[in-house]
C-alpha cells in the first residue's frame, strides 16, 4: 500500500472478495522525506501515514516492511549500472520483478500468506495453461507492460483487483468507501528521483565526462556532457552547431559507453524493423521457434505494434510490420497476443 488511491481500493476489494488481508507499506528509502512535493516521489512518511489511514478505514492490520536495502541493491544500483553501460532501464519493471513479486511475495508466502494484491491496472485469468496476465480494461492506465517481467509462478501469487475498472471509477469508489486518498494525485516518474530530473540525478551519481558526438561515419561534430544523459531518438538539446547538408534534423542513434561516444544520424537511420531481446520471461505458455503474429510494446504507455515474434533459443525476436523510430537497448520488449501478455525480454540489439 503506497499511500495512493489504487492500492487502497485494491486492498478494500480484496477484503470484500473474502481474503484474509494485511496491508503492507514498503519503506524503500533509507532516509525517507517527510512530505511529498508535487506528484513526484513516493514512500515519504506522509505516504506511509496515508497508507496506514486507508488500512485502518478498511479495517485490516497494517505493517511497514523495510525493503530499503533490497530496493537499493536490486533496483537503484541496477538503474545506475544500466545507464553507465549505455542502456535505458525501466526501474518500475525491475521493482516488480525483484521486490514486489519476489522479496515481498517470498516473505509473505513464508509467513503463511498465499499471494500479493496490488493496485496495478492489469488482469489475470484462469486458463487451461494456468493463470495468464492481461491488459486492464482502462487502456490508458494499463500497467501490464511493467508486470510482464513476472514469471508464471509470480503471476500465480498475484491478484490485481483493479483491472476491470476505469481509473475515474476507482476514484469514485474510494470516495464512496470514505478513503481520504480518493483525490490524491497520481505519482509519476521514477520514485527514487524526487526531483523528476533524471539527467541531473544521474549526473550527481555517475559524474559526467565530456565526450564526442559523431555522425554515422565517425566524424566528430560536437561534444556531449555525459553520454548517459541522452536517449536514443533524442533530437533536442544536442547542442550541435554544424548543420547537415540538407538541413535535416539529427537524432541520437547510439550511445557507446566504452568510448563515451554519442552517435547521431538522420530520422531514416533511426528506423528499426527487428528487435532482439535477452533474458526472456514467459507470462504464459513458452514461446517457441514457431513464428507467431502478435503485438510488441516497447514503452510503458507506448503503442502496441503489429509484429511477428519467435524465440530462437536464446533471444526473443520481434519483426515489425512498420518500422519504429528510436529504440534504446535496456528497454523491455513486451509481446501481446490480443490483450494477453505473452512475455517480455530486455532489448539487447536492434536492426
Amino acid at each position: 500500500m503506497s499511500g495512493g488511491v489504487d492500492s487502497a481500493v485494491a486492498a478494500a476489494r480484496a477484503v470484500e472478495a473474502g481474503h484474509d488481508v494485511i496491508g503492507v507499506h514498503l519503506a524503500l528509502a533509507a532516509n525517507p522525506q517527510k512530505y511529498r512535493s508535487g506528484a513526484r516521489g513516493c514512500c515519504t512518511i506522509e505516504d506511509s501515514h496515508d497508507a496506514r489511514r486507508a488500512a485502518d478505514v478498511i479495517g485490516i492490520p497494517f505493517y511497514i516492511w523495510d525493503m530499503a536495502q533490497e530496493f537499493h541493491d536490486g533496483v537503484v544500483e541496477n538503474f545506475l549500472s544500466e545507464y553507465s553501460a549505455g542502456r535505458t532501464p525501466n526501474p518500475c519493471l525491475r521493482c516488480n520483478e525483484k521486490i514486489k513479486f519476489a522479496a515481498v511475495l517470498d516473505r509473505a508466502r513464508a509467513m503463511g500468506f498465499d499471494g500479493v494484491v496490488t493496485g496495478h491496472y492489469a488482469n489475470t485469468r484462469e486458463s487451461e495453461n494456468g493463470k495468464t496476465l492481461h491488459r486492464a480494461v482502462d487502456h490508458s492506465k494499463d500497467q501490464s507492460y511493467v508486470l510482464a517481467v513476472l514469471t508464471r509462478e509470480q503471476i500465480d501469487g498475484a491478484i490485481f483487483p483493479l483491472g476491470d475498472t476505469e481509473k475515474v471509477d476507482i476514484r469514485k469508489e474510494a470516495e464512496a468507501r470514505g478513503l481520504a486518498v480518493a483525490q490524491k494525485p497520481d505519482s509519476h516518474d521514477i520514485c527514487f528521483v524526487p526531483s523528476g530530473d533524471n539527467a541531473s540525478w544521474l549526473h550527481d551519481r555517475l559524474g559526467s565526462e565530456v565526450g564526442p558526438i559523431v555522425d554515422q561515419d565517425g566524424k566528430k561534430i560536437g561534444e556531449h556532457k555525459g553520454a548517459y544523459t541522452y536517449t536514443i531518438g533524442q533530437r533536442k538539446g544536442l547542442g550541435l552547431t554544424v548543420p547537415t547538408a540538407d538541413g535535416s534534423p539529427r537524432f541520437v542513434l547510439k550511445i557507446e559507453p566504452v568510448t563515451n561516444t554519442v552517435v547521431v544520424g538522420s530520422r531514416e537511420e533511426l528506423a528499426i524493423s527487428k528487435i532482439w531481446g535477452e533474458r526472456a520471461i514467459w507470462c504464459g505458455p513458452d514461446v517457441t521457434s514457431d513464428k507467431k503474429r502478435g503485438f510488441v510494446q516497447i514503452r510503458a504507455h507506448g503503442s502496441a505494434l503489429d509484429c511477428t515474434y519467435f524465440f530462437d533459443g536464446s533471444n526473443l525476436i520481434a519483426e515489425l510490420d512498420e518500422p519504429l523510430l528510436g529504440l534504446a537497448t535496456g528497454q523491455a520488449m513486451v509481446i501481446y497476443d490480443g490483450d494477453r501478455v505473452v512475455g517480455s525480454a530486455t532489448i539487447c540489439k536492434t536492426e
Binding site: 512518511i45 492490520p61 523495510d66
Partner: protein, 381 residues
C-alpha cells in the same frame, strides 16, 4: 482465546477506579487557577491528588510539576538542568547509553543546538550501568558535568539501574532519573534515592494518557519550555489537567500491582520459551529486573515479522525498540549490551500486567513455535 495483551510497558488498561475518578472530575466545572468557588473546588481535588502522588513517590507535594507526558517531564529536566549548569560553566551532559528516546533525543538536541558535550555511559552485557566508567568520568571531569540522567529501569529489558550509587558518585552534580517504568512496580523513593529530579507517567500504571510528573527539588529554578500562565512553579505553564491528575492519583492509590505474581508469570513464560526454542535467550536474565518485562532474542528472525505473526495470532507484544518512520531499527539498548545489528533486530519485549493469566501464557506458548518457524522461513526467503 481472546487477545493476549503483553505490552504493558507501552501502555496499560485504565483501572476502573482511575476511569471513574476521571469521568467524575471531567464533569465538574472549574479551572483550578480560578479564584471563585468552582476554581477552588477543582483546586482542592487536584491538590489532594498531588499529595497522594507525592506520598507514593517519596517527595514533597511542592516538588511535583504536572506535565502532559513523561516525555515532556524528561525534556524539562534535561534541558533545564543543562541550562542551569551552563550558567556555572558546566557544559557536559551525561546519560546512559540505554536511555529512552525521550532522554536520548533531547540530549542530542542539546549537542546540536546548544553546543553541549554529550557523554553516554556504557552498560554491561547484562544491561546494567557501568559504574566504574562513571567513577572515572566524575574523577576526571566532574566539575564540567551539568547533569547526569540515568533511567531507573530500562523500558526494553526491564533491567534495574543502580541509581542510589549514581547519586552517591555524583556528589553535587544534579542527577535526574526517568522512573516511568519503575513507578508503582518496584520500591522507588525520590528522597531516599537522593535524586535531584525524577519522571513519572500515569498511563504505565493504569492511569490515563496525557499526564506526567516531573519531580524537581524544591526551590530549584530552571528555565521553562512552555511559557504562559506559569501554573506549575513558572516552570510549566498550561491549564492543569484536573481529570487526568485525579485519575493518576486514583491509579496510584489502587495498589493493584501484585509484583510477586506478575514476576512469577513472567518467569514461567520466559523459562518455557527458552525450553521450547533452544537458541532463544533472555536479555539481562541474571540481573535484577522489573517484575513484568522480559526481552527475548530469537536468533535468525526479524522481530517486526514475529510481531506481525503474533498479532495475527492475537498476541500483542513489542519489538521494544524505536521505530524510525515506521521502520524497525536495531535497538540501541541491545546494541549497547553488545548485540550486533542483526541480533538487535531479532528480539521481542513481552511485558506483563495484573490482568494477565496462566492460561494466557499457555496460549502464547502454543502459538509461539509456529510463529518462530514461519518467521525464520521469512528471513531465509
Amino acid at each position: 482465546m481472546n487477545s493476549v495483551y503483553l505490552d504493558h510497558a507501552a501502555t496499560t488498561p485504565i483501572l476502573a477506579d482511575a476511569l471513574s475518578a476521571f469521568t467524575s472530575q471531567a464533569s465538574k466545572l472549574g479551572n483550578p487557577s480560578s479564584l471563585h468557588t468552582q476554581g477552588r473546588a477543582t483546586r482542592k481535588d487536584l491538590e489532594d491528588a498531588r499529595e497522594s502522588i507525592a506520598k507514593a513517590a517519596g517527595c514533597l507535594s511542592s516538588e511535583i510539576i504536572f506535565t502532559a507526558s513523561g516525555t515532556e517531564a524528561n525534556n524539562i529536566a534535561l534541558k533545564g538542568l543543562f541550562w542551569l549548569g551552563r550558567k556555572n560553566g558546566r557544559n557536559v551532559v551525561v546519560i546512559s547509553a540505554i536511555e529512552h528516546h525521550a532522554i536520548l533525543d533531547p540530549a542530542k538536541w542539546l549537542v546540536e543546538h546548544e553546543g553541549a558535550e554529550l557523554i553516554e555511559l556504557p552498560v554491561t552485557a547484562a544491561g546494567v550501568l557501568d559504574l566504574n566508567f562513571l567513577t572515572d568520568l566524575i574523577n576526571k571531569r566532574g566539575d564540567e558535568i551539568a547533569v547526569i540522567s540515568v533511567m531507573h529501569s530500562n523500558n526494553e529489558t526491564g533491567v534495574l539501574q543502580p541509581i542510589a550509587e549514581v547519586v552517591k558518585l555524583a556528589g553535587d552534580i544534579p542527577v535526574h532519573s526517568d522512573a516511568v517504568q519503575s513507578f508503582g512496580k518496584v520500591a522507588l523513593n525520590y528522597q531516599e534515592l537522593g535524586l535531584f529530579a525524577m519522571t513519572l507517567s500515569a498511563h504505565k500504571i493504569g492511569g490515563p494518557l496525557g499526564i506526567g510528573v516531573l519531580i524537581l527539588r524544591r526551590a530549584v529554578e530552571i528555565p521553562a519550555l512552555l511559557h504562559g500562565g506559569g501554573q506549575e512553579r513558572e516552570i510549566r505553564s498550561g491549564t492543569l489537567n484536573a481529570p487526568a491528575i485525579v485519575a493518576f492519583a486514583a491509579a496510584v492509590s489502587t495498589k493493584s500491582y501484585d509484583a510477586t505474581n506478575i514476576a512469577k508469570l513472567r518467569d514461567d513464560f520466559a523459562q518455557r520459551v527458552v525450553a521450547q526454542i533452544p537458541d532463544a535467550f533472555v536479555n539481562g536474565a541474571d540481573v535484577e529486573r522489573l517484575p513484568g518485562i522480559v526481552n527475548i532474542t530469537f536468533p535468525r528472525t526479524e522481530s517486526d515479522t514475529l510481531l506481525l505473526l503474533l498479532d495475527s495470532e492475537k498476541v500483542s507484544c513489542s519489538t521494544g525498540s524505536a521505530c524510525s518512520a515506521g521502520v524497525h531499527r536495531p535497538s540501541h539498548v541491545l546494541m549497547a549490551m553488545g548485540h550486533d545489528d542483526i541480533s538487535a533486530q531479532s528480539s521481542l519485549r513481552f511485558s506483563f500486567g495484573p490482568s494477565n493469566t496462566a492460561a494466557e501464557v499457555d496460549y502464547v506458548l502454543s502459538v509461539l513455535p509456529g510463529v518462530i518457524q514461519r518467521g525464520r522461513a521469512a528471513v531465509a526467503s
